[in-house]
Amino acid sequence: MSTAMAISNPTEDEWKQPSRGMVGMACLIAAESAIFVIFVVAYIFYTGKSLNGPTPREVLELPIFSTICLLSSSITVHFAVHDLRASRIGRFIAWLASTVLLGSIFIASTAAEWYKLIYHDGLTISTNLFGTTFYSLVGLHASHVIAGLIMLGLALILAILGKVNAHHAERLEVLSVYWHFVDAVWVVVFTVVYVLGR
């Protein structure tokens, strides 16, 4: 073994690079954002271009409650990571559980909304352009929420089984960044679909 490769300036003894998980998540978010942008563009492009009803104004209602649930789950997941880092496992589990609960309420209310749209208003994905763009955009977001819920739920189960400790805080933080992203996307979807698109 030799140190022949070690030709470096003596000033650079500190060598820090960003965390792998965070960079990976940032990349994933960049790619996902691009997908959402395309769906949002398609939604805006086709707003008001449907050849037949029902129109958004007739059938859509503002999902205020579920939006509040989803957005506040961002706060709870933040506290969860914070407590895990400080090794307060009990509080961590409580915050994480409330995050999963809030996310589930959101998904349940989306399901209820879709049930109403399909069976009462007769709007399906093949009814008109509104149906096609609405279900695909909201559905794409919902599938991301579900994926996030599965991951958070797994973390919750492992935590209850006592297998999570402060050592895992960084991984959980990466997961929480994903969850914040899903929330941020909902703000855009909400604005486009329920505010501007109506």
Partner: protein, 562 residues
């Protein structure tokens, strides 16, 4: 001159390393591997197989078009051939071969032991590979178990509404959509891996400003993949919704827009060309300085130009749509932005010329291909500027002139640099040199074949020959030109066969290369050839952009000057 030794193995360690014995062990070794070098090699190998397949498709098309009124293959088969040729070359040859070299080289060049996410790396490769298999499965089971249709025949950009269920029944178009979806997942996974590796796994002292330019260019390419391949994935999801769930995204009869598909496709499609060409630039950035015996000229300008190309290329897509009738404002904007891309690209060409200028040029095969690349890429860029002018494009859009232009980029620039990369890094990968004699034969035959095919292909385009036609009347005056083009394709085939023979033969009989056959300056040449699975026993530390120069010339290291 310097020596460093890999640390000694000490007896009594848990020897978990697999010893390849029978064929099953070998298969298991490759299937379960998470080693970036093996994954890189699998990428390259699988791309080479598809290169041969898609090359054969091109050859069949050229035979069909060689003479007027030809009936060599059926019109339906012809439609499938050009669709499969384009799709394969872009998604299952270009992307994987470039990702393969990136996978192999990036960790070595930044002094890391593996990629940031080794398992994701393996997953990305396999998902792309199965995508390619699914695409070609359409030839054997194209009718599916449900009904009509075989291989996709909608063209590689699959314009709507031709792709809707009504016009394209059966599953042929689904094969196209789904296999590209799979390949897209793989591309995004690998790009994510490359970015994370570059940003978080660099060895000590490897600041961003010291990274080899190849790594920089791959970083930019990978960032582009996120913003570019994702829209394609989104558009494919929409198409699947249309075809399976009865959606109306691109269904013109229900108010859907065919032009929207064109936008979505070309938002992917044009930057995709830059995703393919940037790695080719990356190879040139490594090869040209080594064989000119000079450091690269204008490193910061190269980085800036690359980032500039990355950004500008996102805003040029609609130059593929001048003939759609977008109106004067959009036409003017996209003409302008397309011409602006020529500026950073020009900076690169001048930097390469300045690197060669006054150098002690060594005409080894990699350098020959690089010089061919410089010349041909310039011409490809010039016809690109011509087509960027929208009135000119109205005249020649969808003609063979366009086909000649983009093949000049894809073959004349990208494929030439891929060949150069093979000759340059083959000694590192296998430990043996490729034959220079065969390499020279390969180069000259390929140059001749290339220019016969693609120089003369411009002419029938100017004479009005549209692309994607099955055959043509004898009195159009295109026959002679097409004959030359087809003969050129045959010459290229012969050259490629020599290359393949050289690859195979050199593996056993090539001259032993040693760790650093080219007297190069980047880190990968400081480990043995082929590198051990852990790359470096001791992680290196670097003090300049040319760590091996510093190592070989301790009296005059670059690190004093950066």
């Amino acid at each position: 001159m310097a020596t460093h030794t890999h640390a000694a193995a000490v007896a009594g360690l848990p020897q978990t390393m697999r010893r390849p014995g029978g064929i099953l062990d070998v298969v298991q070794d490759w299937v379960t591997t998470v080693d970036h070098k093996k994954i890189g090699l699998m990428y390259i190998g699988y791309a080479l197989i598809f290169l041969v397949v898609a090359g054969c498709e091109a050859l069949l098309m050229r035979i069909q078009l060689a003479v007027p009124n030809n009936q060599f293959i059926s019109p339906q088969a012809f439609n499938r051939l050009f669709t499969m040729h384009g799709t394969t070359m872009v998604f299952f040859v270009g992307m994987p071969i470039l990702f393969g070299f990136g996978n192999y080289l990036i960790p070595l060049m930044i002094g890391a032991r593996d990629m940031a996410f080794p398992r994701l790396n393996a997953f990305s490769f396999w998902v792309s590979a199965f995508g390619g298999v699914l695409l070609y499965f359409s030839y054997f089971a194209g009718s599916g178990l449900y009904g009509a249709g075989t291989a996709p025949d909608v063209g590689w950009f699959a314009y709507a509404p031709l792709t809707e269920r009504v016009f394209s029944p059966g599953h042929s178009t689904d094969y196209w959509t789904l296999s590209i979806l799979l390949s897209g997942i793989g591309s995004i996974g690998t790009a994510l891996n490359i970015v994370a590796t570059t940003l978080t796994m660099r060895c000590k002292g490897m600041k961003l400003s010291r990274m080899p330019l190849l790594v920089w260019l791959y970083l930019v390419t990978s960032c582009m993949v996120f913003v570019v391949v994702s829209p394609l994935t989104a558009a494919q999801i929409m198409l699947v919704i249309d075809r399976y769930l009865g959606g109306h995204f691109f269904d013109t009869q229900a108010g859907g827009s065919a032009v929207l598909w064109m936008h979505f496709f070309w938002i992917f499609g044009h930057p995709e060309v830059y995703i393919l060409v940037l790695p080719a630039f990356a190879f040139a950035n490594e090869i040209i300085p080594v064989f000119s015996r000079k450091a690269i000229f204008g490193y910061p300008a190269m980085v800036a130009a690359t980032v500039g190309i990355g950004f500008i290329s996102m805003g040029v897509w609609a130059h593929h749509m001048f003939t759609v009738g977008m109106g004067p404002d959009a036409n003017a904007f996209f003409t302008f932005s397309t011409m602006v891309v020529a500026v950073p690209t020009g900076i690169k060409i001048f930097n390469w010329l300045a690197t060669i200028w006054g150098g002690n040029i060594q005409f080894a095969t990699p350098m020959m291909f690089s010089l061919g690349f410089l010349f041909q890429f310039l011409i490809a860029g010039l016809t690109g500027v011509m087509l960027a002018a929208s009135p000119f494009d109205w005249q020649l859009g969808n003609s063979y002139f366009v086909v000649a232009h983009f093949h000049y980029v894809l073959v004349g620039a990208i494929l030439f640099m891929i060949f150069a990369a093979f000759y340059y890094w083959y000694p590192k990968i296998t430990g043996r040199m490729m034959s220079e004699t065969l390499g020279k034969w390969h180069f000259w035959l390929f140059v001749i074949g290339f220019h016969m095919t693609f120089d003369f292909m411009h002419i029938p385009g100017l004479l009005g020959m549209p692309r994607r036609i099955y055959t043509y009347e004898a009195d159009r005056g295109w026959g002679g030109w097409n004959m030359i083009v087809s003969i050129g394709a045959l010459v290229q085939t012969v050259a490629t066969l020599i290359f393949v023979y050289n690859l195979v033969r050199s593996y056993k009989k090539g001259e032993v290369a040693g760790p650093d056959p080219w007297d190069a300056w980047t880190l990968e040449w400081s480990t043995s050839s082929p590198p051990p699975s852990y790359n470096y026993a001791e992680l290196p530390t670097v003090g300049s952009r040319r760590p091996l120069w510093d190592l070989k010339h301790p009296d005059d290291p670059d690190s004093n000057f950066e």
